[in-house]
């Protein structure tokens, strides 16, 4: 059983009190450039999943509390929640450093945009 705490309203409960929303930090390419999107970009957005054994960034919804969506960083082997944070926010810096694959690129890009 997972014990989840909502970072918005601080409600705590097991996974039945929350709703899992899959991989987080995926950018929809058609939003930026709807006319020039390729089939491969659309495939990556819709179907390709970063599916690591270890640190996973994901979305959850606080079903029986405030109803808000939020982000979580969780280990897919130990099930430990490393952090939860708002839906528009980035994970804590040390977790961004640990991130691999497309997430690492995404966080770098977002940090550049911020700077």
């Amino acid at each position: 059983m997972l014990v989840v705490t909502c970072p918005i309203c601080n409600a705590s409960g097991d996974e039945t009190d929350f709703h899992y929303g899959g991989q987080a930090h995926v950018r929809r390419p058609a939003t930026a450039d709807p006319l020039n999107i390729t089939d491969e970009e659309q495939r990556d957005y819709l179907f390709i999943r970063h599916n690591p054994k270890g640190l996973h960034f994901e979305r959850w919804r606080c079903d029986r509390g405030c109803g808000k969506w939020f982000h979580a960083a969780r280990d897919t082997v130990t099930m430990e929640f490393k952090a939860t944070y708002g839906i528009t926010e980035l994970p804590p810096v040390e977790l961004m450093k640990e991130a691999k694959g497309p997430w690492a690129d995404y966080f770098k890009m977002r940090m550049k945009e911020k700077a």
Binding site: Y20, R43, L46, H50, N51, H56, E58, R74, V77
Partner: protein
């Protein structure tokens, strides 16, 4: 040459107090190079190796497995075999598998105890009833031996079922595949391993792949915990761990790994002689030859590599089955376990070449891979041997995700996803 298993070999060995049975397969050290290597020693991987050797004459091949063969999902499932899917391409591959299962014990000279005891899929809502009727029509057009049955017939087939029309999810009918059933899952892995080994295939256990070496656009071999193995053809058949392995070759997969659990009760006298799947309430049940009720349900919704599911999913499954079979309410459960299943977006498998020459992938069987083992191995071996998709494997290519040509079984597969 291996000695054949038969009543005579049993009698001969009984005389020697069973001390002289030869090992069912060798445990060779990996060679430096093979013509083809299969990563993953589950049912699908072993079947691929067997058909590569038997149908395509490739005998200088190896299966590498990080644990022991059949220790993953092949030994963790609820052993249901059926082929009544909705889409034509699904019907083709699952029915090929089901029909191969019929003669598999003879083909492998290993009793995998295929028991065509019938699979009954309950309709517990109007919507489910209509959906199964649609599947029934599709299956009849494809020539499958399946039919809809009434609640009275359901009661006749499974007397312990609750057909009270006033319960929360009353049984409105069922979709019945009498030629479906169950098999002995470990024996499928062991039988394929023994038969492949007899044809010269090296089965290398406790050998974890740590890297896939490439040169230009093609594979050249594997790095493993037991050294480098060269090969120009590599087939990745690693179910829940497929993303991890394919990452090593830089191929990103449309897969999420989830945990699916199963459990068995204490053994009781025979009470149910077919498989019952209750998909609206998420639970399915059959009885093993030992008398245990074998129970499965839905996956936990979140990504998981731990092979341990949540209590929530178990409680949900058991609650549903107690309502469907009130007789089981006081049974104690003996064991529970989890396996990591590889889910695709359309809930159909992937049997495919990849953008890297010589690298093939067979995965995405999700919650329903056991039933497909012989068919999957058969067409994947053909795909690898001839470097082009087998006709039945063709629709299941990785390219379908970019082409928007999905094989949607997410509702029609009629299993609790």
């Amino acid at each position: 040459m291996k000695s054949k298993y038969s009543i005579f070999s049993l009698a001969r060995n009984a005389k020697n107090y069973h001390k002289d049975w030869e090992k069912a397969w060798r445990s060779p050290a990996p060679k430096a190079e093979y013509d083809a290597v299969i990563v993953g020693g589950g049912g699908h991987g072993l079947a691929t190796a067997y058909y590569l050797a038997k149908n395509h004459g490739l005998t200088n091949i190896a299966v590498v497995e990080k644990g022991w063969i059949g220790g993953g999902n092949t030994g963790r499932n609820t052993t249901i075999i059926r082929s009544n899917y909705l889409q034509d391409s699904s019907i083709a591959i699952y029915e090929l598998a089901r029909s191969l299962y019929e003669g598999l014990s003879q083909d492998l000279n290993y009793n995998m105890m295929f028991s065509p005891r019938g699979v009954l899929m309950l309709c517990q809502t109007e919507h489910e009833f209509r959906a199964f009727k649609r599947t029934a029509h599709a299956n009849r057009l494809a020539g499958l031996d399946c039919r809809m049955v009434t609640p009275a017939e359901v009661k006749e087939i499974v007397p312990i079922i609750n057909t009270d029309p006033n319960c929360r999810y009353p049984i409105l009918g069922a979709y019945y595949q009498p030629r479906g059933g169950t098999g002995r899952h470990d024996a499928v892995a062991w039988g394929y391993a023994r038969a492949a080994d007899a044809l010269g295939v090296d089965i290398i256990q406790n050998c974890e792949v740590t890297g896939i070496t490439r040169e230009g656009g093609r594979v050249t071999g594997l790095s493993t915990t037991r050294g480098e193995i060269k090969s120009k053809k590599i087939g990745v058949v690693t179910a829940g761990n497929v993303s991890t392995i394919m990452d090593m070759a830089g191929v990103r997969m449309p897969i999420e790994s989830l945990c699916l659990q199963a459990l068995v009760s204490e053994p009781i006298k025979p009470v149910i002689d077919c498989v019952v799947m209750a998909n609206t309430v998420h639970g399915y049940m059959s009885q093993s030859d030992k008398g245990e009720l074998v129970i499965g349900g839905g996956t936990d919704p979140y990504n998981n590599y731990s092979q341990r599911g949540s209590f929530t999913a178990l409680e949900h499954t058991v609650t549903a089955l107690v309502e469907t079979f009130p007789i089981i309410s006081r049974l104690r459960m003996l064991r529970q376990w989890g396996g990591i299943v590889d889910m695709t977006g359309d809930r159909s498998p992937i049997l495919s070449k990849t953008e890297i020459e010589g690298l093939y992938v067979n995965c995405g069987w999700g919650t329903g891979g056991f039933k497909a083992i012989p068919g999957s191995g058969f067409v994947f071996a053909d795909t690898m041997a001839n470097d082009r998709p087998h006709k039945i494997a063709e629709p299941f290519g990785l390219n379908r995700f970019a082409e928007g040509r999905l094989i949607d079984e997410s509702v029609a597969a009629a299993v609790a996803h």
